[in-house]
């Protein structure tokens, strides 16, 4: 038995290690870029909504519309659809580099909505109180709104990372590599079940690690009372379930 394991590692160890590494890179780099774009978009969506701090209904409607359109693309369709654009800006339509534009384009609007929702959770009176102190809108956003929404935003990070992890499996279809690609190639085409099972196990471990780290971080930064914290955690759980459902049924 031990010799079988040694053989398996000798034959597929490097492949799986490389796959894990490229999966991690493919998750982290686009997510970082998407958070910069998504947070800015989310803040603008929040501020320009009717009745908010800087209501601009027309801009809000247009942005909301763009976000909804991007979110209604199944990821694999979006990826194929924008290949010419990806080639233009990345110089290639495939590989890890080729996955960054579609992942960013897919994750940013998702993040924008999550940030908008996290900001909307901040109690109205807290916002009005800092407004009544004579704070400017940028001051309200950076010193009050975003810090107050931080626990909820951190919980959202787990949802986003796990969704992007799901997308990277599909990105394997354009030769990006990664664990999802390995699982499909070895499991589906070559029928080497052990490799597929191993790839799936690593994916499960990655998801668990992301979830645990984010939950821990969210608890660490949360200074609200037990009641508000619990309701925010409950919402994050519902978001996760919705994100998982949206992955099921897509190739």
């Amino acid at each position: 038995m031990p010799s079988a394991i040694t053989e398996f590692i000798a034959e597929y160890g490097e492949l799986l290690a490389e796959g894990t590494l490229s999966t991690i890179v493919m998750v982290i780099v686009p997510t970082l870029i998407s958070y910069i774009i998504g947070t800015a978009l989310g803040v603008v969506l929040y501020l320009t909504a009717p009745g908010s701090l800087r209501p601009i209904p027309a801009l809000n409607a247009v942005l909301g519309w763009v976000v909804n359109i991007l979110r209604s693309f199944p990821f694999i369709v979006l990826m194929v659809f924008i290949i010419p654009f990806t080639r233009l800006i990345m110089g290639t339509g495939s590989g890890i580099l080729g996955t960054i534009p579609p992942l960013v384009l897919s994750a940013s609007p998702f993040i924008a909505r999550m940030i908008e929702q996290s900001l909307a959770e901040v109690p109205r009176e807290s916002v009005e109180a800092v407004e009544a102190c004579g704070a400017s809108v940028p001051r309200i956003v950076f010193s009050a709104l975003l810090p107050e929404a931080l626990p909820s935003i951190v919980r959202g990070v787990a949802v986003v990372l796990i969704s992007v992890l799901g997308y990277t499996a599909m990105a394997g279809a354009i030769g990006a590599g990664g664990l999802g690609d390995i699982a499909v190639r070895y499991g589906y085409y070559r029928r080497v079940d052990e490799v597929m099972i191993m790839a799936v196990i690593i994916l499960v471990v990655i998801v668990q690690v992301i979830q645990s780290i984010c939950d821990l971080a969210a608890r660490k930064v949360d200074h609200r009372g037990a009641k508000e914290a619990a309701s925010s955690a409950k919402r994050a759980k519902a978001d996760r379930a919705a994100a998982k459902r949206s992955l099921v049924g897509r190739p």
Partner: protein, 249 residues
């Protein structure tokens, strides 16, 4: 001195146009503690939110020390709001900041930074409201009455000329209510700050106010000194608020 002249506020709602405030005119003298009382929906919150322009009046003027403030915007509006501190029913503290940082927020809003002097001043204010030892706690670790005292310390950090209290004691038990009212009265006596108290509880008006305005359906139905209104209430609203009508009628 605050002079309110023919103030109107109209909301365009789904059920048509609602006149939240209808031709309100009154003056608040410097150093006064003025009560604005009315039933829920009488427009008293809208009125106080118009005074610091969290709500824009539909028409009319608000003149503070000779200056019409209704047209203020940008930096002028922000500096006006610092003269006009506000205390809320559910406190409006930032739950992710410590008590001290909450009290320091007005300095941050005004200057973009908090200096050591600011911190020392904030600690003095916390000492004044009896919560110095809670400086590094978070609001969720405090009782409602304590949170409201922090909110008062924050309001004072602006070094305001006026304090607006929007149902400041409505969420508190009678003992905490008394603490808050005594605090407001003492601050008024010590610093001469003008206080405007919105409430639906006559007991609050009776304890600390000198003058009172009774609002009903967005209109002033009675105004005068607290003694006069309490002795000879003429409006129906005042009689109901004073519980001088048969409750079972």
């Amino acid at each position: 001195m605050i002079q309110i002249k023919h103030l109107c506020k109209v909301f365009d709602g789904a059920e048509g146009v609602a006149h939240a405030l209808d031709d309100i005119s009154f003056d608040v003298a410097d150093g006064d503690i003025m009560g604005i009382i009315g039933m829920s929906g009488a427009g008293k919150s809208t009125l106080v939110r118009c005074i610091n322009l969290l709500e824009r009046p539909s028409s009319g003027q608000i003149i503070v020390d000779g200056q019409d403030v209704t047209s203020l915007s940008g930096a002028e509006l922000r500096s006006y709001r610092r003269r006009m501190a506000m205390i809320f029913q559910s406190f409006g503290l930032l739950s992710q900041k410590t008590v001290l940082d909450n009290v320091c927020f007005p300095f941050l809003a005004a200057n973009g930074k908090v200096t050591a002097d600011n911190r020392a001043h904030a600690l003095e204010l916390l000492d004044m409201v009896g919560l110095k030892e809670k400086a590094s706690s978070y609001p969720s670790q405090l009782s409602g009455g304590q949170q409201q005292r922090v909110a008062i310390a924050r309001a004072l950090a602006c070094d305001p000329e006026y304090i607006l209290c929007d149902e400041a004691t409505s969420a508190l038990d009678p003992a905490s209510t008394n603490t808050i009212l005594k605090l407001l009265r003492d601050i008024n006596r010590k610093t001469g700050v003008t206080v405007i108290v919105i409430t639906h509880a006559m007991s609050v008006v009776e304890k600390i106010c000198r003058n009172v305005i009774v609002l009903e359906h967005g209109r002033i139905v009675e105004q005068g000194s607290v003694a006069d209104v309490f002795d000879h209430p003429t409006s129906h609203a005042a009689n109901v608020l004073l519980e001088r009508v048969d409750w079972d009628a």
